[in-house]
C-alpha cells in the first residue's frame, strides 16, 4: 500500500511532465522556422522528462523497491546529451543554409 501523499505527488509530476511534453510537440508544429522549432523539443525533454523521471523515482522509493538510482542517471545522461544533439542539429542546419524565418534579427555566420 502506497502512501496517499506519494500517490498525489506522482500523479501531479506525471501531469506536469505530460503537459510540458505536449507543449513541446505543439511548439514543433507551430513555430515558424527550423531554428525556433529546435527550442520546442529540447525544452520539453528537459522539464517534461525530468518531471516524469522524478515521479518514477518517487514511485519506486515509496513502493519499497529501493531508490531509483538508474532513473536519476537516465535524467543526468539526458541533460548531458540533449544540448549536444540540439547543437549538432543547429550547426548542420546552418551549414546547409536553412533559411531563418522572416524577421529574425542577425545572421548565422560563415566560417
Amino acid at each position: 500500500m502506497m502512501h496517499p501523499v506519494a500517490e498525489y505527488a506522482i500523479s501531479a509530476l506525471l501531469l506536469i511532465g505530460g503537459a510540458f511534453t505536449l507543449v513541446g510537440a505543439i511548439g514543433l508544429a507551430r513555430l515558424p522556422d527550423f531554428f525556433s522549432r529546435l527550442h520546442g523539443p529540447t525544452k520539453a525533454t528537459t522539464l517534461g522528462v525530468g518531471a516524469i523521471m522524478l515521479s518514477s523515482v518517487i514511485y519506486f522509493s515509496a513502493s519499497g523497491e529501493g531508490i531509483g538510482v538508474s532513473e536519476i542517471l537516465v535524467t543526468v545522461f539526458l541533460f548531458i546529451t540533449a544540448p549536444v544533439s540540439a547543437n549538432i542539429l543547429a550547426k548542420a542546419a546552418m551549414h546547409i543554409d536553412v533559411p531563418p524565418a522572416e524577421g529574425t534579427r542577425g545572421n548565422p555566420w560563415d566560417q
Binding site: 525556433s36 528537459t46 522539464l47 525530468g50 549536444v84 550547426k91 524577421g103 534579427r105 555566420w109
Partner: protein, 162 residues
Amino acid sequence: MLDRLTFPQPWLSLSLFLIWQFLSEGVSGGSVVLGLVLAWAIPQLTQGFWPERPSLLKWWRMPGYLVHVLRDIVVASFEVAALILSARRPRSAFVVYPLELTDPLAITVLAGTISLTPGTVTVDVSDDHKSLLIHALDAESDEEVIHSIRNRYERRLLEMFE
C-alpha cells in the same frame, strides 16, 4: 604493453566505475570486472579528445551551479510554454556572444547550459574559440541576451575554472 594499463584520468575512471555499478542490477563480481574494463578502456579511447587536462579548480561550487541552472530551466520552461501557446509571433534572433572563458571544458559547459535553458540554443563556436553563436527564440535585444548569460552563468563558470 604494460604502460597502456594505466588510468590516464583517475577521476573519470572512478566516475565511470561507480556509474556502471549503479546501472547494473546490484554489485556483483561480473559488474566489478566489467566496470574496471570500462573505467580503463573509455579514458584510453577518448584520450585524444582531451589535449590538455581540464582545470576544474573549484569543483565544490559545481552543485550550487547545477541547482541554479535547474531553477532557471523550470522558470524559463514556463516562459517558453506561454510563448508557444500565445498567438504572438516570436522575435527570434541570432546573437554573437563574446566569450570571456578560455578553458575548452568551461566553454562546453557554458554552451550546454545555454542550450538547456529554454529560449536559447548554442549553434556554433567560432574557430578562434572567442565567441558563441546563439539562436534566441524570443529576445527583445541582443544586449539583453548577452547580459543575462554573462551574469547568470559565465561569471560563475569563470570563478570555477579560472
